[in-house]
Amino acid sequence: MICACVIVLALGVRAGAQGRGGRGPAAPAGPPPTAKASAPVDLTGYWVSLVTEDWRYRMTLAPKGDTDGVPLNEAGKAFAAAWDPAKDEAAGEQCRAYGAAAIMRMPERLHITWQDDDTLKMDIDAGTQTRILGFNPSQAKGGDWQGVSQASWDRPKSRMAVGFFAPQGDWGGGLKVATTRMKPGYLRRNGVPYSANAVLTEYYDRFDVPGGDILMVVSAEVDDPMYMISPFWTSTHYKKQNDATGWNPTPCSAR
């Protein structure tokens, strides 16, 4: 009798499961929802960076060879030791520290909008840069400072379909962005390098602080075996603004 109870009750749970992630009955036929329509979180708007960590590296120009905290290999250290901002300026490469792998660390403001239903656009006043975060696969060649970014919604989920044992509820979620095909640049303005083969993985989370501000935290991983012995991890936080106050596009600077 007890085993029968288990089966009946388990079926009951399954029948009650609705909606997301393939855990319930099949959804009605039709095109999949757009990224905008299925967003678990709204990241649009103006954001200002709160520079409370790695302050010296982000707000000022650190001395040559000061690579503290970055897991560089010998090639990376040698590259950083040879940094010459004048040479970068002469080559017209003042934006080396404004590439996707580093630009989120700049003191800056962001303006995030939906370019279309499946593409987020991020304008950044530091260096007057724009990142395009597309949810559909891109055939772009990249090779520029911001590379090619593949966006997806990041919800907690199992790797397997687990049927009626699937947990119930809404876990929310964030934005995941994988960026490749970047032009080689600097993780820090003082010449700490990343290569064209670097892979940047970012997780964007929005936190509505009860009784407080709205924050966005970007947890980033830069994986670059050419210059690093292990991935370089940072988390960078922003505070939401009501409007464009303080928006101040500036050109890239090598110093």
């Binding site: 007890i2 085993c3 109870c5 288990v6 009750l9 388990a10 749970v13 678990p40 979180v41 200002v48 960076s49 709160l50 520079v51 409370t52 960590e53 790695d54 302050w55 010296r56 707000m59 000022t60 650190a62 001395p63 905290g69 897991p71 003191p107 800056e108 403001r109 006043d125 530091a126 990041d154 919800r155 907690p156 947990p167 119930q168 509820g169 809404d170 876990w171 929310g172 979620g173 964030g174 997780y203 989370d205 936190f207 602080v209 009860p210 407080g212 501000d213 924050l215 935290v217 947890s219 292990s230 370089f232 991890w233 940072t234 988390s235 960078t236 936080h237 505070k239 303080g246 101040n248």
Partner: protein, 635 residues
């Protein structure tokens, strides 16, 4: 509770039954009888959660110097420090950690999360219904054990003790574990003296992306910050136990022969290393001195234009501003009720009638240390009776001041010293008369230093409110209810009649107004108080305390006013008293007048914690007392 939930015994009828019940929920209970009454854990909102358990290590790619070797002095960039916070930090001398009581200072919760070393997270579940009771976070450095209660319990009241890790409650919000933490001790935002006060609270989000865990802390500190301080920390998952969870620390003599009233610090405006950070890295001098503006992109422009004068102005208090006042939470309930905080071994702290009351109960009758203001004495008596119906036998006063003796009359009359009937005192009692001296069987015995009696007699208080059992020298002792009670006279602390009272077995010390968490020391020069005597008294308390672990726990300190403490709060208070003394003394030696000392704002870094501009004990009164006492001692 164990760290793992109770496993099902698969294949057994018991296991299947448990599975059935867990899936079915409440309706199935009808088959087996009514459900049990709801547990506290069932009051929490049902919400999904993510699994954060495992072993975690911070890569420390950000702020590697701060989190490893330690930041330079003068590097407070990116912190929204208030003037008080900046000056507190500039006053800090790292040699302070050579002081015995500071050697094992633990980390407050948000700094713990930035510490070097390994972390472990595990769940605690109710073994009967598998609801999530708590999430535990263990940091290897300082053995920082944080307990995040997930069962919906409230935060403790304002008079409850503080710990380095504080009291945390949590719930899942979307894909994050959201935590609120209160009741922390004073500690560090950064290990170079950047302070976080005991009034700080933290809101925190922990999210998991694959094997990348990110913890974001939002620190609000009305004492030392002008804006919330946001910091985020990353951790990667370790697949195996690294077997490195302990952090042994014990204090010892690092500098022998140092006078007990020496606290390493720098005088305001005289921090010799304030420019070292900027000079080392070739930055504008203003770079390290922080403030909320240093967090924002606009500060880039200021870095280009700031002058040396701007830098120097930040090294001392702004003398054009009025003194700040306390932004600390009021620890008094103000609800007309008496609140009981159990301490240890049948010892309790009673809160609500002005000064704190300490009560020891037992078969011999209650021993009451201080009686409050006397406005709620009936409720105090009723509360003590509920703790133990035996009558109050002894009342001990730490001071003659009204906040501590106001209830003497009523509590005394409600008590009885049953050790004395039939003795000389009882035989001398006139028929029908009552009172502690003439009829102890119908009155508690009141004990205090003799100067308490003298002051109360001078004030013409009712005789039965005045301690009759007095002592003259340094110590009075009594074995009561299985514990050793000792009173230690502290001549010339806040007055000339103060005592600290220790219950040795319970390991509780009641300090009277020698130590409070609410105001600057009430140094009553007119009634025999003194700066040096107050410092000595605070050190005498510290000489009798033992912490349990990393400066947390151990000897319980009941302050005259404020929340229950241990030695750490006394230590910070002692440091403050010494530092203010040194500043005023330095100015007196240079010929400063009282007006000049006040104008210099010598207490600027403590005013947001203890300052007052009105009431019975203002910042001005405190500075005037310190100045007058030290000036006198210089003659």
């Amino acid at each position: 509770m164990s760290e793992k939930s109770t496993p099902l015994k698969k294949g057994t009828k018991t296991g299947i039954l448990m599975l059935a019940i867990s899936i079915a929920g409440a309706p199935l209970f009808a088959q087996f009888g009514p459900p049990p009454p709801p547990r506290a854990s069932e009051k929490a909102e049902p919400s999904p959660g993510v699994d954060l358990t495992g072993y975690w290590t911070p890569p420390m790619h950000e702020d590697a110097l701060e989190r490893g070797g330690g930041s330079e002095l003068g590097d407070y960039a990116g912190f929204a420090l208030s003037e008080a916070g900046r000056l507190w930090a500039l006053s800090y001398d790292p040699s302070r950690v050579t002081l015995k009581h500071h050697q094992c200072d633990a980390y407050v919760a948000p700094y713990q999360m930035r510490a070097i070393g390994n972390f472990r997270i595990w769940e605690e579940r109710d073994p009967h219904n598998q609801t999530l009771v708590a999430i535990h976070i263990w940091g290897q450095t300082t053995e920082g054990h944080r307990v995040v209660w997930m069962d919906g319990r409230p935060h403790p009241p304002a008079w409850a003790p503080h710990t380095f890790r504080g009291f945390s409650t949590g719930k899942f919000m979307g894909n994050a574990l959201y935590i609120e933490t209160s009741h922390m001790k004073q500690g560090w935002l950064r290990r170079n003296g950047t302070p976080q006060s005991d009034q700080a609270t933290v809101k925190e989000f922990i999210v998991l992306h694959g094997d990348h865990l990110t913890d974001t802390t939002i620190i609000t500190d009305p004492v030392f910050l002008t804006e919330p301080e946001v910091r985020s920390n990353d951790y990667f998952r370790q697949p195996v136990d690294h077997h490195a969870w302990l952090y042994a620390c014990d204090d010892g003599e690092q500098i022998t022969g140092r006078a007990p009233d020496k606290v390493p610090h720098y005088l305001l405006g005289q921090q010799p290393y304030a420019n070292e950070y900027a000079l080392r890295y070739k930055l504008p001098l203003i770079a390290g001195l922080g403030g909320a503006e240093s967090m924002y992109p606009e500060f880039l422009a200021k870095l280009k234009t700031a002058t040396e004068a701007d830098f120097k102005a930040k090294l001392q208090a702004d003398t054009t501003r009025p003194a700040a006042t306390s932004r600390a939470a009021d620890p008094e309930p103000h609800d007309g009720e008496i609140h009981v905080l159990p301490l240890r071994n049948d010892v309790y702290m009673l809160v609500g009638d002005g000064g704190n009351i300490t009560v020891q109960v037992g078969d011999e009758g209650a021993l009451v240390i201080d009686t409050g203001e006397g406005k709620l004495s009936d409720k105090v008596i009723e509360t003590i009776r509920r703790l133990n119906p035996r009558p109050i036998q002894f009342i001990v006063n730490t001071s003659f001041r009204a906040e501590h003796t106001g209830g003497n009359l009523k509590l005394g009359a409600a008590g009885a010293d049953l050790s004395l009937p039939g003795s000389f005192f009882g035989l001398q009692s006139p028929a029908g008369a009552t009172g502690q001296e003439i009829d102890p069987a119908h009155h508690a015995t009141l004990i205090a230093h003799n100067n308490v009696q003298i002051h109360m007699q001078e004030a013409k208080l009712p005789p039965d409110a005045i301690p009759a059992d007095t002592f003259l020298e340094d110590r009075r002792r009594k074995f009561h209810n299985g514990d050793s009670m000792e009173m230690f006279w502290e001549p010339n602390a806040v007055t000339d009649g103060d005592s600290i009272v220790q219950l040795r077995r319970a390991d509780v010390i009641a300090t009277g107004d020698i130590f409070t968490t609410t105001q600057y020391p009430f140094i009553d020069l007119k009634n025999g108080g003194s700066v040096q005597g107050e410092i000595k008294a605070l050190n005498d308390i510290l000489n009798r305390t033992v912490y349990e672990h990393e400066e947390d726990g151990g000897t319980m300190i009941v302050p005259g006013h404020g929340y229950l403490c241990n030695e750490h709060e006394v230590l910070e208070y002692r440091d403050m008293m010494v530092i203010v003394r040194d500043r005023v003394l330095d100015m007196i030696k240079k010929g400063a007048t009282l007006a000049q000392v006040k104008a210099f704002r010598v207490t600027a870094d403590y005013d947001t914690r203890y300052g007052a501009s009105s009431g019975p004990w203002t910042t001005d009164m405190f500075v005037e007392a310190v100045y007058a006492d030290l000036k006198k001692s210089q003659k």
